[in-house]
Symmetry: C2
Amino acid sequence: MIQKANTCDTKSCFMCKNCLPEWHPAIAANKTNLKVKKGEVIFKEGDPVTGIYFVYTGLVKVYKKWDTEKELIIRFAKEGATFGHRGLGNNSTYPVSAAAMENGVICYISLEFFEATLKVNSNFTYQLLMFFADELRESERKMRNLAHMPVKGRVAEALVALQKQFGINADGFINIAISRQDLASYSGATYETVFRMINELVNDGLISLSAKSIRINNHDALSVLAQDIMFP
Amino acid sequence: MIQKANTCDTKSCFMCKNCLPEWHPAIAANKTNLKVKKGEVIFKEGDPVTGIYFVYTGLVKVYKKWDTEKELIIRFAKEGATFGHRGLGNNSTYPVSAAAMENGVICYISLEFFEATLKVNSNFTYQLLMFFADELRESERKMRNLAHMPVKGRVAEALVALQKQFGINADGFINIAISRQDLASYSGATYETVFRMINELVNDGLISLSAKSIRINNHDALSVLAQDIMFP
DNA sequence: CTTAAAATATGATTTTAGTCATAAAAATTC
DNA sequence: GAATTTTTATGACTAAAATCATATTTTAAG
């Protein structure tokens, strides 16, 4: 990670958007911009928490590991998004790891300055609280899916979620370069099983493939597979 | 749920403990105390969010259902604890259900008044943020466990967590009356599988049973089974 | 107190998804 | 651009856990 000053515009990230304009100079004075390369690990589980990060450009995955082999991707952080905020609260080490999936620039804010920011910007604190509430809701829904939904449904759900977050390109393919390995980690299953499920989905005509890209052909049917079944 | 005014002391819950003393009369004026019976559902997934709850006495489980049969218990809320806070953020319906596990009294605060409380009590907002960060961390750890840990480990972890939250009684048994069914839901597995794992743990000498109660005999060994293996 | 409804216990069977093995293709590195 | 590493592809096998079936016990309700 190479430090590279004054890259970000102190305008586009979640913190900058929700802080008082008067606070922006303070942010500019306290931020550190870092250049990351594809595959580079930014922090990992167990590292001491020293600050919070925002993605200026590029894409970051936040994940947890189990015995160096199995990983579970918790979420993807794209431009503007926060990561490392799981270090807040009563713990001194990161409970997750973060790695760049593309070359990019990230913005680092020390915990100290971040806490000052929270104290000064009550709207930001409130927005962050709402963000946490949303994240918690998502996380618990995924817990339920991992406990009770079959892998095929989880893959369907992962694809729907990716399309929602990253959109589609001109040809209708989901706008993210993701390896099958990462898709498996995001679905919470092994590469092989996910591979088979992808094949099934292609055979069912719900999705189609082109090189690494995936296109959803039948969004409704895929959503049904991934459905949040409510009791009537 | 029978409404019953003026039961709680506006002192012991998470909100009361973190608000300005000056705000307590406002809380007293806006709270509603409700008497709940064992098994009673307080709200369920999909119900419109109208407020936030605190447990004054008794015990509440917060859970998610999948097709009316399978449930996953997200957490237990005991005296003083908040629940229903998952309704915050960008959603108008509860993403979880809550039911009383014992007869008790709960305190209800309307969303409107709760939001006013957040605006007035910045310390409370901050503490709530930290609480959310902790919950999120827990939730994501459980996600990882559900994805990669075998059921035996999850049961071990559930028992360790229960002992941590509820403590032990004079004979060393975990101080909670929980059905095997609920233990299964909390471990994210079926009743039958959990039953077998409990048997294995008894045969291994790690725990012992007496009627419905469970005692941890070998906390260390149980923790190893439930371990958060870090990469060295 | 009787009866119905839950919760517990346990074996047998089936399904699902993980593990292993190996080959081809792509991507990176030297 | 040759060599090595990583990712993708796929079949065979195994293990884990869910489902099904059914008996017994306990608890709650009238």
